[in-house]
Subunit: 363 residues, 2 copies
Amino acid sequence: MVNYRLFTPGPIEVTEDVLSECGKVFPYHRDPSFAEVVNKTTNNLKDILFTDSRVFFFTSSGTGGMEAAVANLFSEGDEVLITSVGKFGQRWREIADAYHLKVHYLRFDLGKSADPSMIAENLAKCPTIKAVLTTHTETSTGALNNVAEIGRIVRSRDRLFVLDAIAGLGADELRMDPWKVDVVIGGSQKAIGAPPGLSLVAVNERAWTAVSRSRLPKYYFNMQIAEKFRQKGFTPWTPAIPAMMALARSLDNIAQKGIDKVWEAHEKWATFFRKKALDLGFTFMPERPSNALSVIKFPEGVDTTEIICAVRDKEGILLANGQQELKGHLIRVGHMGHANEADTLRALEVLEKYALPKLKEGQ
Amino acid sequence: MVNYRLFTPGPIEVTEDVLSECGKVFPYHRDPSFAEVVNKTTNNLKDILFTDSRVFFFTSSGTGGMEAAVANLFSEGDEVLITSVGKFGQRWREIADAYHLKVHYLRFDLGKSADPSMIAENLAKCPTIKAVLTTHTETSTGALNNVAEIGRIVRSRDRLFVLDAIAGLGADELRMDPWKVDVVIGGSQKAIGAPPGLSLVAVNERAWTAVSRSRLPKYYFNMQIAEKFRQKGFTPWTPAIPAMMALARSLDNIAQKGIDKVWEAHEKWATFFRKKALDLGFTFMPERPSNALSVIKFPEGVDTTEIICAVRDKEGILLANGQQELKGHLIRVGHMGHANEADTLRALEVLEKYALPKLKEGQ
């Protein structure tokens, strides 16, 4: 088993104290001491998200959390507006299609962020659209959407705003209630600093009304079943207890630092990274970049797969490739878990050594 | 955080080597070294299950695996025969109802096992039933079903046989292909000895044909999406990597011992426990008991909740209560993870000290 350092945009390297929680003898999931852990974790998360919403934890990847949102909010044939700026916007569409929603699909070019005015236009034109589903941080391109502005527009039209914040949560500023987001989905393995295994879905009162009306089939992800257990600090089904203990620790760490400080660190080191990389001659894909990751694009003729393999094999560091049609054309570098000087310099160092010569050859 | 010894019938106490896998720096889920771990784990599991089936791992509880089976095998209105001998048979029904299947429900009294002849009768009477959904080990009552006999009947009528083997897998004999089971669902946190976080679903070729025809909505649990990744040793979504590393170790341990030896140990110590407990004056709920757990019933007037709390608070041991209408009337003792002399004697010791006096008072 080779263990590479993960500079991937999730799963991220977790700190020693968080990892060790995962390897401890774990409590029983029906014991009051576990409920205390869950309740404290919920409260930390609500503070970090700036919300009064109820929060559900599911043992699943972030995609499971996205499906939970769709399956609990809608009924067959409901109309939704999905904005997509990459692979994870497309995932919203695939889930909505699987559940036979009627999808209005607003797709922006790769590297762009969603244009809020086009969302406003679509909502004005189509009063039957019940909800807008979008992405906070699009991990496939590194683009950040203007959530505050989209939230203002969606609320002014009295629709629901459902946000996949899986990749950005903890790295990019997000204020759920002030920004008028009705449902936020997160994943444990991104900037909130825990191992993979849990998704979380925050649901405000406006969205909860929709939950009570939804007729889509669901059981494992059924929030009305989960709600009865949530009130006691439990989950209906046996959760990934070690992952929850680790998440409890990582959210406690963030709460103690203050989420503002954590955002600042991501902004500082992502900005530093991009400035230095630009100076070296690299260019970036997104126009409006997230602080969770940086996405470097390469010209035709450079195969980033080769660079990524060389960095892995010679330096023991995993960078991420482009996904789908972008495979071989991008290098994606995560700043989550690496928002510090030493790691940022290390990432720049391997890029200068392995990617820069290829870039110059390709130009 | 108080850590009790878990004599619960899952999640179980895992061994030190398995637990430590969970606390190690984890690999990236798209790295070939992780695929190797998954492939080896799959092969071990196929040996343990006596099957050539394809095996899917889902980051979820066992219930998620049950839902995956339903959502992937059927279409709305499909007829299924569900046999229930307790809470987990009822769970099949709840899932099938959620997906609008037409359910034929064969419910047996609590403590009984399913009567195979009644299954045969129902299948003969109703040729439109596509599948039989049942439970291997019913954790709520401790009853074991006669899977080999049910399998013979279901196959002879050319229907599908779907088995929730979550609680019994690793403790109670189960031979998937020889016993003609088409789909088996398991959970990581039971007798196969890993922490909670993963379910597994083994699907044979007969069932795979049904998967290709199913029209129920699904995405996270979609086996046709998962199949493309499975062939490379991956999962479509980021899995609970630490839980997978732990499961890899625990299945490796079982493979090295030999599953026959593991079954034997459970049979030996479960039988020993029940003999000694009977001698003390206890009586058991199931007629045909599983070796995964023993379920002791108490007369009206004894509140087992009090006993269980006393054992927890004074001895630091967690026993399990009855569930739903059986709460307060049962003590459930897990043998999974405790199929050895020391733990079996310890369980008997606390029962003699805390439960026996109450039993005698109540009689």
